[in-house]
């Protein structure tokens, strides 16, 4: 039995009142309880940022590593023990800036994990500098002349042939929880970009701004297995912002292609030095 209490933590939350992160935390907990996943079978890997503090505010195994390096650490942990359910958590700075190279590689590899990106279009923890997803022209202390063109994470993911791609909104907890569940259940790499208003540093992309624009693609008879349609959806931004599962496909999972992982997780395999005797013959 898994009950909501299993995911309650007593660590004091260091987010600003009204922060979009609260909705994401709620959705994560809801999804995990509904999936009946026990906390010790779960591993959160996160980086540095306000969003990536999330694992401390719920329960599970936690590896809170470096800014932007969530994905390789999560990949290493999955390779060591592929019985763990792995959820990665980063902000848009860590995911699409510092760690972008890892994201591209993870999508190509198709490692089986779910990656939640708290996308507030600004650097929160370091207090309000432009992020890779800030709107062009966004004025901050580091970009007094205006930010450069933003990256489009959805288009990037599709170009990397991602196997699961969704966009959620932290103001729609119910829907976000359903996306997280779908991502965790998906076999392969699942990227969930989450629109997260930052009440302290982003006066432009507020709760109201998003609420006026977001809609659920599934309400419009959208087919997430159609890559051409997904590619078009990825370009939609402005008056209407799509949320929901943008794209989904079956692709070979990285772990399943490694012979050593076929029997059981590496961490459960014994160490036996003498099994390598035959290799010495190569040098005799």
């Amino acid at each position: 039995m898994v009950v909501p209490k299993d995911y309650e933590s007593d660590v004091e939350i260091a987010w600003c009142p009204g922060c979009g992160n609260f909705g994401i935390l709620q959705a994560v907990k809801k999804a995990l309880v509904e999936m009946k996943l026990e906390p010790h079978r779960l591993l959160f890997v996160s980086g540095i940022g306000q969003g990536p503090k999330l694992p401390h505010y719920t329960r599970g195994n936690v590896f809170n590593g470096l800014h932007g390096r969530t994905i390789p650490a999560a990949t290493g942990a999955r390779l060591a023990n592929h019985e763990l359910t792995v959820i990665g958590i980063d902000g848009d700075g860590g995911a699409y800036g510092e760690g972008l190279n890892h994201l591209l590689a993870a999508m190509r590899r198709n490692i089986n994990m779910t990656y939640l990106v708290h996308n507030n279009q600004v650097y929160g923890l370091t207090k309000g500098q432009a992020s890779p997803t800030s709107d062009a022209g966004f004025i901050t202390k580091t970009t007094p002349l205006g930010a450069i063109l933003p990256v489009n994470p959805l288009a990037l993911a599709l170009a990397s042939d991602v196997s699961f791609l969704a966009r959620g909104f932290s103001g729609d907890v119910e829907h976000l929880a359903s996306l997280i569940k779908a991502g965790v259940k998906h076999r392969g790499f699942a990227l969930i970009d989450i629109l997260q208003p930052c009440v302290s540093f982003n006066r432009q992309n507020t709760f109201k701004w998003y609420r006026d624009r977001v809609y659920r693609v599934e309400d419009e008879g959208y087919d997430p297995t159609d890559k051409a349609a997904a590619t078009a959806k990825a370009q939609e931004w402005g008056d209407r912002i799509p949320t929901g599962i943008i794209y989904r496909q079956e692709r070979p999972v990285y772990e399943e292609q490694i012979p050593a992982l076929k029997k059981k997780p590496l961490v459960r395999q014994p160490i036996n030095p003498s099994q390598f005797e035959a290799l010495l013959d190569e040098f005799a």
């Binding site: 010790h40 079978r41 890997v45 195994n61 590593g65 290493g76 036996n272 030095p273």
Partner: protein
């Protein structure tokens, strides 16, 4: 004592490396000791490359600069190396290629290309003809050459094997008919017991890592480390190990740390440039108390430096890399045998002390071949450190990954294997692994981590000390220079000088007490190392207060030879 030296030289693409390896492997079947090194440029075709093989009746770990046989696959090789050929030595070459005119007493003209074409129908096998010629001159048992060629070319099929054997045979017969043979019974096969193996430093490290139970290597190619991942990747289908060619070295270290956190032995292998990208991850391992093993194969820097050459310029870097303060161990094996046991020890220390361990090698050690006694895998002891048993933990809601202990070591639980939740953070954290800001917890955790150095200090062996009574001088080195220093000392001893040696094959935490003791009766102290700033001498000064009398430094990217050391010592002693 017999000491026989062969050099094969040519341009990249002529197969200098593979011919050299075949010669070394063939000679290793005899009862002699082999040491072989290679010198090549950072390019795929052209330039000048050579491979030196030394066969000796005495154990040797250094190159010699006096050649008995020079195999010149092009004329440039003759120009550059003829001065190294001994007065009774011989140059084997193909007159048609080299256009060199060498007297009959100094040279043997073997029509390598013609013989390759006639015997094997393939001019590319000219280099195999040269192998045959060498062993023809040595009157070596041809069956051994045949068996080595068969083993070398197995993967390429029977026809390639047969053609290579034909090519070798042609060279062998030609040399026996036309050359003045040099019979060296000492280096020929006399028994069939084959107690020795021939391998280079990277191969020893790869084998050691597998034997130690390394289950994951994550890497990005960089000379001289690439062949470690390549070797292990080649075993992925047969053995339970994963090799991941990652997007960059930052991914490599973070992946290895993630795997270490989840409970498997994991490693990375790189050179200085890649290590620089890993440094933040090194500190992450220190902070999260995660075991990880890093092989740092040095080459001359700064920046890209001399990619295919050797240097010991990163001793201080290996000791200090990483922001903040955290414990580490640094091992610096001097030869292939030590490299094998060093990597095993590195994995044990990393897990016992839950912290990163660096195995510091260099291009010379990584790529030089040596005969060593076949490793005894039963001697490989696995020590996984203080772990929490799954049964003991039960329902433990209260497990604290970073529990404060006297030794600084917190018993380790692994995520998913028990009900304990394993929480850790690169932010400063409390015992439970959650991030904190308060000063008291910070101090407590910082000291706890650093206390692990006390235990580590006891694990590090003393340097290898060979004391001569009433020493006139003590030669001091670390890492791959061991063989050359040792041999230089032996030569001085023979000349009636009392020379001691101290060699560091485990260098951090620094074994200061043992060093101080030797300094009391050392005579003149001379530190010998492959860098320009005398990093070991500086470290000794810092850790013991002792100032060494002299240094012999070499930073041209080439390894030390005993001869080089002797010529520089003459001014000192």
């Amino acid at each position: 004592m017999t000491d026989f030296n062969i050099m094969v030289g040519g341009e990249a693409g002529q197969g200098v490396q593979s011919v050299g390896a075949i010669i070394a492997k063939t000679l290793a079947r005899g009862d002699c000791h082999i040491f072989a090194d290679q010198d090549y440029e950072s390019r795929v075709r052209g330039g000048h490359n050579f491979f030196r093989i030394r066969a000796s009746t005495r154990e040797t770990g250094a190159v010699s600069e006096e050649l008995d046989l020079l195999v010149a696959l092009n004329s440039e090789t003759i120009d550059i190396h003829k001065k190294e050929v001994k007065s009774d030595g011989l140059i084997i070459h193909d007159g048609e290629t080299t256009q060199a005119r060498i007297s009959k007493t100094k040279g043997l003209d073997v029509p390598l290309i013609k013989l390759a074409r006639d015997a094997a129908g393939n001019r590319l096998m000219a280099n195999t003809v040269s192998v045959g010629a060498i062993f023809g001159l040595l009157d070596y048992n041809f069956e051994i050459i045949e068996s080595i060629l068969t083993k070398e070319f197995t993967r390429q099929g029977q026809k390639i094997i047969d053609d290579n054997i034909k090519a070798a045979r042609a060279g062998y017969d030609h040399a026996r008919k036309n050359g003045r043979s040099k019979t060296l019974p000492e280096i020929r096969l006399t028994s069939r017991k084959r107690a020795k193996i021939l391998l280079n430093g990277n191969e020893a490290i790869s084998l050691g890592a597998l034997a130690a139970g390394c289950k994951l290597i994550a890497g990005y190619p960089m000379t001289p480390a690439s062949s470690i991942m390549e070797y292990i990747a080649g075993k992925e289908k047969e053995y339970d190990v994963a090799a991941v060619h990652v997007e960059d070295e930052i991914a490599a270290i973070n992946m290895a740390v993630g795997a270490g956190y989840a409970g498997i032995r994991s490693m990375v292998a790189t050179s200085g440039g890649g290590f620089s990208l890993m440094v933040e991850g090194l500190a992450l391992a220190g902070m999260t108390e995660t075991p990880v093993v890093i092989v740092l194969g040095q080459r001359p820097g700064p920046a890209t430096g001399l990619p295919t050459r050797t240097e010991q310029g990163e001793l201080w870097y290996a000791l200090h890399a990483g922001h903040g303060e955290f414990p580490r161990a640094v091992l610096s094996p001097s030869n292939a045998k030590e490299a094998f046991y060093a990597i095993v020890k590195a994995f044990n220390l990393a897990e016992k002390y839950q912290t990163p361990v660096i195995v510091l090698t260099d291009h010379h050690l990584a790529t030089s071949y040596a005969t060593v006694d076949r490793f005894d895998l039963r001697r490989v002891k696995i020590e996984r450190g203080d772990t929490v048993s799954p049964t003991k933990i039960g329902e433990a809601r209260s497990y604290r990954r970073h529990a404060v202990t006297d030794s600084g070591i917190s018993p380790r639980a692994l995520p998913g294997l028990t009900k304990a939740l394993v929480v850790t953070d690169s932010d400063e954290h409390d015992e439970a692994g959650h991030m904190i800001e308060d000063a008291a917890t910070r101090i407590e955790q910082d000291l706890k981590r650093l206390r692990k150095l006390d235990g580590l200090r006891k694990e590090i062996g003393p340097p290898v000390i060979k004391e001569a009574p009433k020493a006139d001088a003590t030669l001091i080195g670390w890492g791959s220079t061991g063989g050359a220093i040792e041999e230089a000392a032996a030569i001085f001893q023979k000349d009636g000088k009392a020379v001691s040696t101290i060699h560091f094959n485990e260098i951090w935490p620094f074994p200061a007490d043992e060093v101080k003791a030797v300094f009391e009766k050392s005579g003149k102290t001379v530190v010998i190392e492959s860098n320009a700033t005398a990093q070991l001498a500086g470290l000794i000064r810092r850790e013991t207060g002792k100032k060494v009398d002299h240094t012999i430094l070499k930073y041209d990217g080439r390894p030390f030879s005993p001869k080089y050391i002797i010529s520089h010592l003459k001014g000192v002693l």
